[in-house]
């Protein structure tokens, strides 16, 4: 695993932030000057890759590809996948991404102003394509298996891992670099701000993202990148890889309903399919990392779906988005990494800002404080615009 997020630049920093319930949300005055309704955002620096990645390769990389490079470098190192192995095997790449707005805006601005396409530079086309992250990672790490961007809105990163697990299950790939990346800049989410989706609790940024809380008023946009290396058991054993966990289930569904308003039925079917595919008892799921983004209707409907599907059994439920904001295309992967860090280190991060439940979240077991507890299996939900839903179940690996 590897990660680059507002909670930290590597797994250890992120683990510490999760453990301490530290928020990565700030107020960005630039957005206010740009006319944003909400200037709240996750904060992370753009990685400086000078000296690590050549100039001729860096010109192809928008910020989200840089985040993904850092996360993937860490993940490959932790998985003990060196370049010799990668060069002699067909290691695949499935990464979630669903926008590259900043690069598009910047190159279009130059074209409009200068009336000369040459001046956008050699990297603009490669930065401007939705598959920019997989294009870049595939070339940088010389990956030779499947090379594909998964665009499933805010479930992209989760679908990437789920689809990867199926390719491995079907024997089409032995090892795949999976993940999700999300650009962090005003242009990419200006129109999202425009539809009143964001929290306006600007006076207290770290309290703004409050999934499941009665007084939530919208999400806070975030971003970064998270990478997990998934591999067949046989391949992992053969090369002596450190095996952390097993993806035991992938469920998916489409709401077939409204563009932005989630329902209860779609997520419920995704949850049910995942449980069915995983062949596990609901009561074996100790922890659910919810999609809950801190929007009034989204959290309400997910709470209903979880309560309906788990029918009386109450696993611990939290949304790490309380600390990270909504990491969108990245979220489905980063939340697997966050949950894995918790499972490896015997704690469940607090659902910070959960002060008062509403009538639906009151039916769930949501801790506002950190729980120091051992668990062996978790479920992660990711839902997106257009009604795409993805659910993953991950189990601790034991010999």
């Amino acid at each position: 695993m590897g990660v680059y997020s507002c909670l930290g630049k590597n797994l250890e920093e992120v683990r510490e932030s999760l453990y301490n319930g530290k928020s990565g949300i700030i107020f960005d005055p630039v957005r206010k000057e740009m006319g944003f309704r909400s200037a709240l955002t996750a904060y992370l620096e753009t990685p400086d890759l000078k000296g690590q990645v050549s100039r001729n390769q860096r010109v192809y990389m928008p910020d989200q590809a840089k985040y993904a490079y850092v996360a993937t470098t860490e993940a490959l190192r932790n998985a003990r996948l060196d370049q010799d192995y990668i060069d002699s095997h067909e290691v695949g790449l499935l990464y979630g991404n669903d926008s590259t707005a900043d690069a598009v805006v910047k190159s279009v601005d130059i074209m409009r102003e200068k009336k000369d396409t040459t001046l956008v530079g050699s990297g603009a086309i490669f930065q401007s394509m939705n598959s920019t992250v997989t294009m870049n990672l595939g070339c940088l790490f010389r990956l030779k298996g499947i090379n594909l961007t998964v665009s499933g809105a805010c479930a992209s990163g989760s679908h990437a891992i789920g689809l990867g697990s199926l390719l491995i299950k079907w024997g089409l790939q032995d090892c795949i670099v999976c993940g999700g990346a999300q650009e962090v800049n005003p242009y990419s989410i200006g129109s999202f701000d425009g539809i009143n989706a964001f929290s306006t609790r600007e006076s207290d940024p770290t309290k703004a993202s409050r999934p499941f809380d009665r007084d939530r008023d919208g999400l806070v946009p975030g971003g970064g990148a998270a990478t997990v290396i998934i591999e067949s058991y046989e391949s992992a054993v053969k090369r002596g890889a450190p095996i952390l966990a097993e993806v035991v289930g992938y469920g998916f569904s489409s709401n077939g309903d409204h563009m932005s308003v989630p329902n209860v039925d779609g997520p419920s079917r995704s949850l049910e399919m995942c449980l069915r595919e995983a062949h596990v008892d609901k009561k074996d799921i100790a922890y659910i990392n919810a999609h809950a983004t801190s929007t009034p209707v989204g959290d309400k409907n997910e709470a209903k779906a979880i309560a309906n599907v788990f029918d009386g059994y109450k696993p611990i439920v939290t949304s790490t988005k309380a600390m990270t904001g909504h990491e969108m295309w990245m979220a489905g992967s980063s939340e697997i990494v966050y949950s894995m860090l918790m499972m490896q280190n015997d704690f469940i991060a607090p659902n910070i800002n959960f002060e008062n439940p509403d009538e639906d979240s009151a039916k769930l077991n949501i801790p506002a404080k950190r729980l120091d507890t051992h668990f062996d299996m978790f479920l992660s939900n990711s839902f997106g615009f257009g009604g795409t839903n993805s659910t993953l179940i991950v189990k601790r690996f034991t010999k």
Binding site: R55, N56, D116, T118, V120, G121, S122
Partner: protein, 82 residues
Amino acid sequence: MDKDTFIEKLNELLAEEFEVDIQTIRPEATIKITLAMDSLSFVDLIAVIENDFGVKIPGQELKELKTFSQLYDYIYEKIQKA
């Protein structure tokens, strides 16, 4: 701008854009090798020169310019005529 000042300025811009040691940019040196240019980098060379000196080098003509000396002469002549 005299030619020496122009060359000094251009060398600084190229060293920054292509991240190379400015000492390696010598009149007789080969542009492509010195600037570690790949098949797409010529676009960035054209852009740097156009943005900073207002001289647009057609791609085909750039291919004919092998050394920095040839590049200096080509651009400086265009600047003088402008």
